[in-house]
């Protein structure tokens, strides 16, 4: 294919060029610093075009652009602009590249001059709307820095439709071909000669936009552009989705709200956590559990962040619904492999849920009324510099539970919940942005008439972004996260009680990003958390109650971390990211703690005394480093190898004696006896794109170790236990696995197949303890499900009809089964097998849904769509748990399924 053709003189008339362009050839991909020859090779591999050029002509030509299904001609225009080269495409799709002539070099300037004839002079502070392409914006003051011939243009690109920042849009100026891609906050920065320019903005999959500017000094140009006129769904592209092969991070999975909306829903709720569960390496132990397990880690080892706020309980209604209102979420990313250095505090993963701040364009409202839930939201600008988004949900799902109650021991059940999100963003000036996010949720439910459970989340965070200069930006955040639950028992007025638990944390963090030259990005910062936990209190409820008030002593601790990391591009092929965190944790008084016999198991009989600590006195200090290293080496254009190693520390533990997250699980801080969980993970991955980048394949292999995990001795009491250290067993864990993912992102048929083989094992550690589970050998953790397969397919029958199918298979989770029985106290009783020696039957589920859109006229006042489908199409009763009960003195085994029948749903949905 690559033949050197000698064309010393080749005169190309630009009009011929247009006439001969084959409009069918379109290309996709990200090219950063790619030599032209490599680029040509790749285009040839993916299409029928052939390039003919002289090697020495293109030796110094690099391709820097991002194309998504873009016409080849436009791409070539960009590549050759100002390069002194020109090209023509003949009818056989041969592309002839030659050293330029006058005609060729002049062309782009002429081209732009045509546009400039209509320009008008406008001030940059005027409203920047969608159709501002013919105005001329004056940027900066000529009096600033007059000796410099260049000036810096900065700004934020946001979407007209959603107002959210646009990530990965290309901003370019075509004369000198200066260009940059926006970051995940939609920011860009260009250094240009002073004077008039035409600025082009190309969004992936969207239209090109342009702005005329007159650059007189440093200044800001913010732009709102249309995302994609054909899309009725909101399209949010997260940074992880850019390129399977080229991105530096491994083990990062992004999911867009649009993708989540395509998944068949349960009870019609668009659920971001359910989207997370389609990713390889992520699993859940039960159907009504949105607590999830990442790479063999426990559910409490996931750091769930809404903006910068930690959400302690990410579910409503004991797991039926996710706590996140999809209307106020702009995107979701899950880090399971190489966790970025700016995150810490949990062992397994970070789930970053990005909040929405609304649009600057116009005030609008949205709402929904459903049979199970309803919601209402507003967003828009307040003045010129402030925008907000607010949303709320509530439920009235009692009737659904009534259907459940006969079978699931939910008699007398009653469930109510609501949540509110309110986010505000204020642009003080072009260098300072304030952001406020808040989240509040409350759940109340009863399983029987006498007992009321409730829990609530509250998250508040205030952030200040500051751009110090072209290279350095910082973000400072303060916030408060709290979670509490309570149980009111009114079984008997005399014994009525009010039990409560809460966890509060105040945090402050400073995060900086410094771009040094082109090949280093430094990230550094500090993060402080002040924990305050009420581990449990029990009070009499009502005037007649004779319950004695009990209050466990509050737990307080401080945690300070500092971090530094560098993303270093060593060469075109090889990039590394390395860094570390150092965490200092202090468990503080006032508190009285037991002293135990040194070297003996921690039991009540080994208590030899007490030690009392005063307010603010340090009871126990833990500190240690965390390391993060990852690297990427590209092999040719379509494949790469990546590796990663990181270590993590976690100071807060979820005490739970059930296999799923239950609302009564409580959080516990590391103290003198319960040490911080420490773990590490090493992983290696191979990434390959096929078929014009339409197919992405990746495989990752990982191994993890975990120390100081908690398991519980037989008969452990978790609630209101003053000496919880006597009931927990220090345990070790290991997990390993291989994940395979094949994904098709474009075309009429989109979808993914992911298969994971993984193991997660635990063992009681060698420390002296009262009990060694399974005699101190390794045993399966509660979420050890070796095989897991998820298949998601989305087929666009037409622009208006879209179908999706979802298959989910996993090995049954481990369970401790009764294997023998005996008579005791007048009844048959069960004797259990070794811990987790058996498994419940395998899980398999198929869901199907169809979306019907209305017509796609842009100017229609309202768009309507129907979506209907069936959850658990095969009606398979996938057991959630297995148990034995004595009935009339005989033991009977039962399996409990949550959704044992196909569950059809219909959603009517309209936008205006």
């Amino acid at each position: 294919m690559k033949k050197l053709l000698l064309f010393t003189f080749f005169i190309c008339l630009i009009f011929d060029l247009f006439a001969q362009t084959n409009k069918g050839v379109r290309i996709s991909g990200t090219f950063i610093g790619t030599p032209f020859s490599t680029f040509a090779e790749r285009v040839e591999a993916e299409s029928s075009v052939r390039f003919f050029y002289k090697k020495e002509d293109v030796d110094n030509l690099q391709v820097n652009l991002q194309a998504s299904d873009t016409e080849l001609r436009l791409v070539l225009d960009q590549i050759f602009a100002n390069s002194g080269l020109t090209y023509t495409i003949d009818s056989s799709q041969r592309i002839w590249v030659s050293k330029g002539t006058k005609i060729v070099t002049d062309f782009p300037l002429d081209y732009f001059l045509v546009r400039e004839r209509q320009e008008l002079e406008v001030n940059a502070s005027d409203t920047l709307g969608a159709f501002d392409k013919n105005k001329r914006f004056v940027i900066g003051k000529a009096t600033d820095n007059p000796e410099s011939s260049t000036a810096t243009l900065r700004g934020v690109i946001s979407s007209i439709e959603s107002g959210s920042p646009m990530n990965g849009a290309i901003v370019l100026e075509k004369v000198n071909f200066t260009q940059v891609a926006t970051d995940k906050d939609g920011r860009y920065q260009l250094k240009l000669p002073k004077g008039r320019h035409t600025i082009w903005i190309q969004n992936i999959g969207g239209f090109q936009e342009q702005r005329q500017i007159e650059l007189r000094g440093d200044g800001v140009l913010n732009m709102s552009i249309a995302e994609n006129v054909l899309s009725l769904d909101e399209v949010v592209v997260s940074s992880g989705a850019l390129s399977n092969v080229n991105k530096l991070d491994m083990g990062v999975q992004s999911i867009t709200i649009a993708e989540v909306k395509r998944l068949p829903a349960v009870m019609g709720e668009v659920d971001v956590l359910r989207g997370v569960l389609t990713m390889p390496g992520v699993n859940t132990v039960g159907e009504a559990t949105t607590g999830f397990n990442v790479r063999g880690g426990a559910a409490d080892q996931n750091l769930i962040l809404y903006g910068n706020s930690t959400v302690f309980n990410p579910t409503h209604a004991f797991g039926f619904f996710s706590a996140f209102n999809a209307d106020v979420v702009s995107g979701v990313e899950l880090y399971k492999g190489s966790i970025p250095v700016n995150y810490g505090g949990r062992l397994s993963s970070v789930l970053q849920v990005d909040p929405k701040f609304g649009t600057k364009e116009k005030f609008s409202g949205s709402g929904g009324i459903g049979i199970l839930t309803s919601r209402l939201g507003f967003e828009g600008p307040i003045g010129k510099k402030t925008n907000f988004a607010i949303g709320g949900r509530t439920t009235y799902s009692d009737w659904a539970l009534k259907l459940l109650e006969d079978e699931a021991d939910l008699k007398g059940s009653n469930i109510a919940f609501y949540d509110i999100n309110a986010n505000i963003q204020h642009q003080i000036d072009d260098k300072n942005i304030l952001e406020f996010t808040s989240y509040f949720s409350k759940d109340d439910f009863q399983f029987d008439l006498d007992t009321t459970y409730s829990y609530q989340n509250l998250n508040l965070a205030l952030g200040w972004k500051h751009y110090f200069n072209d290279q350095l930006e910082g973000k400072f955040t303060v916030g408060k996260d709290s979670y509490e639950f309570g149980i009111i028992g009114q079984d008997n007025p005399l014994n009525s009680f009010n039990f409560g638990f809460d966890v509060n944390q105040l945090f402050v963090r400073a995060d900086f990003e410094y771009r040094k030259a082109e090949n280093h990005i430094f990230k550094f910062g500090a993060h402080g958390i002040q924990y305050d936990i009420n581990p449990g209190s029990n009070k009499p409820y009502g005037p007649e109650s004779i319950v004695i008030e009990q209050q466990l002593s509050e737990e307080k601790a401080n945690e300070i971390s500092i971090y530094f990391g560098d993303e270093f591009t060593i060469s075109e092929q090889f990039s590394v990211s390395y860094g570390g965190r150092y965490m200092l944790y202090q468990f503080l008084g006032p508190m009285t703690i037991n002293q135990y016999v040194e070297g003996a198991p921690i039991t009540e009989s080994n208590v030899i005394g007490e030690e009392t600590f005063g307010k603010g006195e340090t009871i126990q200090t833990y500190h240690g480093p965390e390391f993060r290293v990852s690297g990427r080496y590209t092999l040719g254009n379509r494949s790469s190898v990546k590796f990663g190693f990181n270590t993590m520390r976690q100071n807060i533990h979820l005490l739970s004696n059930s296999s799923s997250i239950s609302p009564t699980d409580s959080w516990k801080l590391s103290d003198s006896f319960i040490k911080p969980q420490i773990g590490g993970q090493g992983s290696v991955g191979y990434y390959q794109n096929f078929a014009r980048n339409t197919l992405e394949f990746s495989t990752e292999v990982y191994y993890r170790y975990m120390n100081n995990l908690l398991d519980y001795r037989s008969g452990a009491k978790i609630v209101l236990n003053e000496d919880i250290e006597q009931d927990v067993l220090n345990s070790k864990g290991k997990a390993y696995g291989v994940e395979l993912l094949l994904k098709k992102n474009t075309g009429l048929l989109k979808g993914s197949i992911s298969y994971t083989y993984s193991r997660s094992l635990m063992k009681t550690s060698d420390e002296p303890s009262v009990e060694k589970i399974n005699k101190g050998e390794y045993y399966s953790s509660n979420f050890d499900q070796p095989h897991h397969l998820v298949f998601v397919a989305n087929y666009e029958l037409s622009r208006r009809i879209n179908t999706s199918l979802n298959l989910n298979y996993s090995t049954g989770r481990p369970i401790t089964l009764p294997i023998s029985k005996f008579d005791y106290a007048g009844s048959e009783r069960v004797y259990f097998s070794e811990r987790n020696a058996y498994r419940i039957p395998d899980y398999f589920r198929m869901d199907f849904s169809v979306n019907l859109e209305g017509n796609h006229k842009v100017n229609k006042p309202a768009h309507a769509s129907w979506s209907f489908g069936v959850y658990n199409l095969l009606g398979r009763s996938n057991p959630y748990s297995v148990y034995y009960v004595p009935e009339n003195g005989k033991l009977r085994g039962y399996q409990l399924s949550i959704f044992a029948k196909p569950i059809p749903f219909i959603t009517y949905n309209f936008k205006f």
């Binding site: 009870m267 079978e407 009491k717 401790t816 009764p818 029985k821 005791y824």
Partner: protein, 385 residues
């Protein structure tokens, strides 16, 4: 340009969760674990220690139980030995008055050569039950108990046994006498219209008295009898046993209670392996199930008569679904053909205007008239009318 969206959910939601029988394939592990059950009375009142083995979970009722045999004695820290008398089938009787201020150990020597020792046991004298009573509430009748803990007795276990008198759906004073081939008035021995039924309960009720002011456990709920339940239709009795436990025993019973009651609901805790206070002398890591306690058992019996709970709507008893007396009269010549198989019995006598003897009977299924199918027509010996 901003599009707002409103979602309107319309669900055809046939939501159903499901509970199905589960019969997993379990390796027939012949787990022969020794099980020790007992609460030995330290005041000389005869009390029983039972030894048995665990059996496979799939074992049927007619499984031939093999009981451990051997010798068992209690040994005090001063070295005194108090033997238990074997009653066969793994039962051993203890009837010694022993000092409560000593610490004891139970020794078991089995005929297969294995031996077992308990951990040290401190007898606990169980405080008296202060009161038992019942109260009507909107759900039926609640049986409660009041007691008070003390320095030695903090944790309590309550178990109970119930008995009640009941009548069949269609009571009758008559019976078919197959020898005389006629219907006669039933004598006391053949009575089928009033029976007694004893029910042993698997319920374990545990409470810690120090949770309450002055360790006063007031009106601890023992049992809830649902409205209309058959147990309160004639006369009912419940005998509640109160045992004081030490901390470890209380944990053992708590594990047993959890393993029995709490498994399988949505937030069920993980099952715990149950142990106890015995060790196999030859293999200390071998499992042994059972917790032996020493002390005294306090018992109180409560009687509830149907008059105490009037009005007590009677709920349908499952065994009597579809019970009716048939409309056609069985006349005297047809008695033999109608009643000799025993599946039908005479139910309602039919008289003529002038006669003293029935001229025929309306018949009903035996299950509807004969209470001895579900109980005994002999009063338990403790029964008080």
């Amino acid at each position: 340009m901003r599009k707002t969206s409103t979602y309107l959910y319309v669900f055809l939601l046939l939501l159903a969760s499901c509970r199905e029988p589960f019969n997993p394939e379990i390796e027939p592990t012949d787990l022969k674990v020794l099980v020790v059950e007992g609460y030995l009375d330290t005041e000389g009142i005869p009390s029983i220690l039972n030894l048995s083995y665990t059996r496979n979970i799939d074992a049927d009722d007619d499984f031939q139980l093999i009981y451990p045999e051997g010798t068992v004695f209690l040994e005090s820290e001063s070295g005194a030995q108090f033997p238990l008398t074997s009653l066969g089938n793994g039962s051993f009787e203890f009837s010694e008055d022993i000092p409560e201020d000593q610490i004891y150990r139970l020794k078991i020597f089995l005929n297969d050569g294995s031996s077992y020792s308990s951990e040290q046991i401190q007898p606990i004298i169980t405080p008296e039950i202060i009161d038992v009573g019942f109260e009507r509430n909107e759900n039926g009748v609640e049986v409660y108990l009041t007691t008070k803990g003390d320095q030695n007795a903090d944790d309590f276990l309550w178990t109970f046994e119930e008995a009640y008198a009941f009548r069949p759906k269609i009571p009758t004073a008559y019976r078919y006498d197959p020898d005389r081939k006629t219907v006669v008035l039933a004598t006391e021995e053949f009575r089928t219209d009033l029976c007694y039924r004893e029910v042993s309960s698997s319920d374990l009720i545990l409470e810690t008295s120090s949770r309450f002011e002055d360790q006063y456990v007031f009106r601890q709920s023992i049992l809830q009898i649902p409205r209309g339940d058959e147990r309160l239709t004639v006369r009912y009795t419940i005998e509640i046993s109160q045992k004081a436990l030490d901390k470890n025993a209380s944990e053992f019973w708590e594990v047993m209670r959890k393993n029995t009651d709490d498994l399988g609901s949505i937030f069920s805790p993980l099952p715990s392996n149950i142990g106890g206070n015995f060790v196999n002398d030859q293999d200390p890591s071998a499992p042994v199930v059972g917790y032996l306690s020493l002390g005294t058992v306090r018992q109180r019996r409560l009687w509830i008569d149907f008059r105490d709970v009037i009005p007590w709507g009677v709920a349908e008893v499952e065994d009597y679904f579809g019970c009716i007396a048939e409309g056609d009269t069985v006349e005297i010549p047809d008695y033999e053909s109608a009643f000799k198989t025993g599946s039908y019995t005479p139910a309602i006598p039919i008289y003529c205007d002038t006669c003293y003897e029935p001229i025929g009977f309306r018949k009903a299924e035996r299950r509807c008239t004969d209470c001895t199918l579900r109980g005994s027509n002999v009063k338990p010996d403790y029964w008080e009318d």
